[in-house]
């Protein structure tokens, strides 16, 4: 395998969790709910996936367990913000803090146990194409799922009636309620979809990216995900592109550290975070376009009159 292919492969591995979690958050935010707890849901997914794989011996059970972990954990957020109309910003922070704590406690017995790596599934014929084949078609299930998610969510949002309803709720929950669209129910589902995606992204971390359990292994990826959704102006394909851009930055700084360019490694490690800030500034400085793209009821509480 060439150096180039190897780099491409690592970029894909680094980008996949970002894309998956961001797609989930995109759906949540399109419904008008701002869930800042992605980091917490992701780390819960990671520990749940690791535990599931250890107990069953199968990484696929691990994936299911990671998805379930993220989705169930997100229900806490949904209950607080949708049923009890608690502040979404504060509750999202709470979810992250609790997730980091709880995952640390659950995962304590898994520290420094060798993990189970999710195997690759080569796709017949396609995987034999030079360069593209080994890079794109000899991948693991979660990568294929990430692509399917982007295509599926794009179709759902812009082609299906249910997606139209979801966008309508995000634009004006009051109007949607007046038309008889189930605002709260849809939002519960959207939050749980976001949680499931964050959980799957976490599973990728503990089953593929670094197949082991390390405390705080999400390392701020959940927060970068939130920035990605803003960067993508709430559009699935832009999330995909943005995810790969960030993945590439992460990998390139790692390679730069390995090469020892005389730049201290800490400064290179800052790159993904600094890049996030720069990208956010570029995207948001135009108030007009930001206003046009942001779901109008994002982060606002909804209490139906009865």
């Amino acid at each position: 395998m060439s150096m180039f292919e190897a780099i491409l492969l690592t970029v894909i591995t680094a980008s996949t969790p970002l894309v998956i979690a961001a797609i989930g958050e995109l759906v949540t935010e399109r419904s008008g709910v701002l869930n800042l707890g992605v980091e917490g849901m992701m780390i819960m997914g990671a520990v749940a996936a690791f535990a599931g794989a250890q107990m069953s011996g199968s990484p696929y059970i691990g994936i299911v367990s990671g998805i379930a972990g993220g989705a169930i954990f997100s229900l806490l957020f949904a209950f607080l913000t949708l049923t009890l109309v608690a502040n979404q910003v504060a509750t999202g922070l709470a979810l992250t803090l609790l997730g980091l704590g709880a995952s640390g406690m659950i995962g304590e017995s898994y520290v420094s146990i060798p993990g189970i790596r999710l195997g690759n599934i080569p796709i017949p014929l396609l995987s034999d194409i030079p360069v593209i084949g080994p890079v794109l078609f000899r991948q693991d299930l979660i990568f294929y799922l990430s692509i399917a998610l982007v295509i599926g969510v794009n179709w759902f949002l812009f082609r299906s009636r249910a997606g139209l309803k979801l966008r309508a709720i995000g634009d004006s929950h009051g109007s949607a309620h007046a038309l008889g669209i189930k605002v709260i129910r849809t939002r519960y589902l959207a939050v749980m979809f976001g949680g499931a995606c964050a959980g799957l992204a976490g599973a990728q971390l503990s089953l593929v990216y670094t197949p082991q359990w390390v405390e705080n292994m999400s390392a701020g990826r959940g927060w970068i995900t939130l920035a990605l959704v803003v960067f993508a102006s709430w559009r699935p394909w832009r999330v995909f592109a943005g995810g790969y851009l960030f993945g590439a930055v992460t990998i390139l700084q790692l390679h730069a550290q390995a090469l020892g360019l005389g730049i201290p490694s800490q400064f290179l490690s800052m790159l993904p975070y600094a890049a996030t800030i720069v990208v956010l500034v570029i995207i948001s400085h135009n108030r007009r376009t930001t206003l046009m793209n942001t779901p109008a009821s994002l982060g606002k509480a909804f209490v139906p009159e009865r």
């Binding site: 607080l80 709470a94 927060w223």
Partner: protein, 361 residues
């Protein structure tokens, strides 16, 4: 089951006081259940965490040490949140405050003067404020989401500290360990009551900051401005207040207090710089602010409670053999319960057990 909310005409004053207490009680109950599930005696565990640390003088001192940064940062964050600005990067401002404050005792190690300590505190607060100015500037001028930028800066601050300690500021006689040299005695924040225990002046600063902030919020036009802009930017503009200036004020205020907390922690408790200087105080301070209902006096109480969870977590690890990770879980649970109980202040909650609604045949 069906839960319905009905908005109260005005905030319920009873629940404003009861809700944090209720949240605390629920956390204790949940904690007890959690320990029971882990196979520990819940009563013994809860007592080890929440009662025993309060029974000995030395551990009361430790409590004051842990509570001081939480209260300092919690008070700053409360003001910031009241104005509807979401600084969640206090951990980063704490780190930078620790660095800028340590500049004098590390770089000018041989300068001995009674001025060193006050200057350190000043530089610490200044450093924290300047670091908080970054998200403030980005929000005020580029409309950039302050939650994400202030958080990203936490990682950057920690990496910067790591670089300093492993590089320029490493103790030349430290056997290559990543620590700075120990501060000279006049650069160490003195204990409040030397004979009794370790607790140092940071706790006094915290109480004073809380008291002054309480006065500002309650009696001055500035406090009024903060409250108005936090509740309605539009009404604030009608009152002639500037939400842009408030972004700066909120961030500089909370950043300065976080920076002060940082240098106090390093100077008073650790006595040198090292890569890890905070067990997540900056994030816990967010919980402190909310549990104190964003009221500076309430924050003194909630800072002590959360300080206790740190202390109790360490104690429980030794006495009953549970992980000190329970501290974080307790803190997270506490914030969840605080947020849910706050609903009671603004809404009446009705739970109906069937979907039938009265009257309509």
């Amino acid at each position: 089951m069906h839960i319905e909310l009905e908005k109260r005409a005005a905030m319920s004053p009873a629940f404003s006081i009861l809700s944090p207490l209720l949240a605390l009680a629920l956390t204790l109950v949940f904690g007890a259940i959690m320990f029971a599930m882990l196979g520990k005696d819940p009563v013994a565990a809860m007592s080890a965490i929440f009662v025993e640390p309060l029974l000995e003088t030395w551990s009361l001192h430790e409590l004051a040490i842990k509570a001081a940064p939480l209260i300092l940062m919690g008070v700053g964050l409360a003001v910031c949140y009241r104005s509807n600005n979401w600084n969640i990067g206090a951990e980063g401002q704490f780190t930078i405050g620790a660095i800028t404050g340590s500049y004098l005792p590390i770089v000018f190690y041989d300068w001995h003067s009674p001025l060193v300590l006050p200057l350190m505190l000043l530089l610490g607060a200044l450093g924290g404020a300047l670091f908080a100015a970054i998200p403030a500037m980005l929000k005020a001028h580029f409309n950039t989401n302050e939650i994400l930028t202030s958080l990203m800066l936490v990682y950057i601050a920690q990496l910067f500290l790591d670089w300093l300690i492993r590089g320029a500021w490493r103790d030349p006689k430290g056997f290559n360990f990543p620590v700075s040299r120990d501060f000279a005695p006049e650069a160490v924040l003195p204990a409040i009551w030397e004979e009794s225990g370790r607790a140092h002046w940071a706790f006094i600063f915290a109480i004073v900051a809380a008291g002054l902030t309480w006065f500002m919020m309650r009696y001055t036009l500035k406090g009024f401005e903060i409250t108005v802009l936090g509740q309605s930017e539009r009404a604030g503009r009608f009152a002639g207040f500037s939400s842009k200036k408030m972004i700066w004020f909120g961030f500089l205020f909370s950043g300065a207090l976080a920076g002060l907390a940082g240098i106090c922690e390093v100077s008073g408790s650790i006595n040198h710089l090292q890569p890890a200087i905070s067990p997540g105080y900056g994030f816990t301070a967010i919980i402190v602010a909310f549990l104190g209902r964003l009221n500076p006096l309430g924050i003194v109480a909630s800072g002590l409670v959360l300080g206790l969870t740190y202390l109790g977590g360490e104690a429980a690890q030794l006495s009953i053999g549970v992980s000190d990770k329970v501290t974080r879980v307790f803190q997270g649970l506490l914030l969840f319960f605080v947020l849910s109980c706050d609903t009671l202040i603004y809404y009446k909650i009705r739970i109906t057990w069937t979907r039938m609604r009265g009257g309509v045949a």
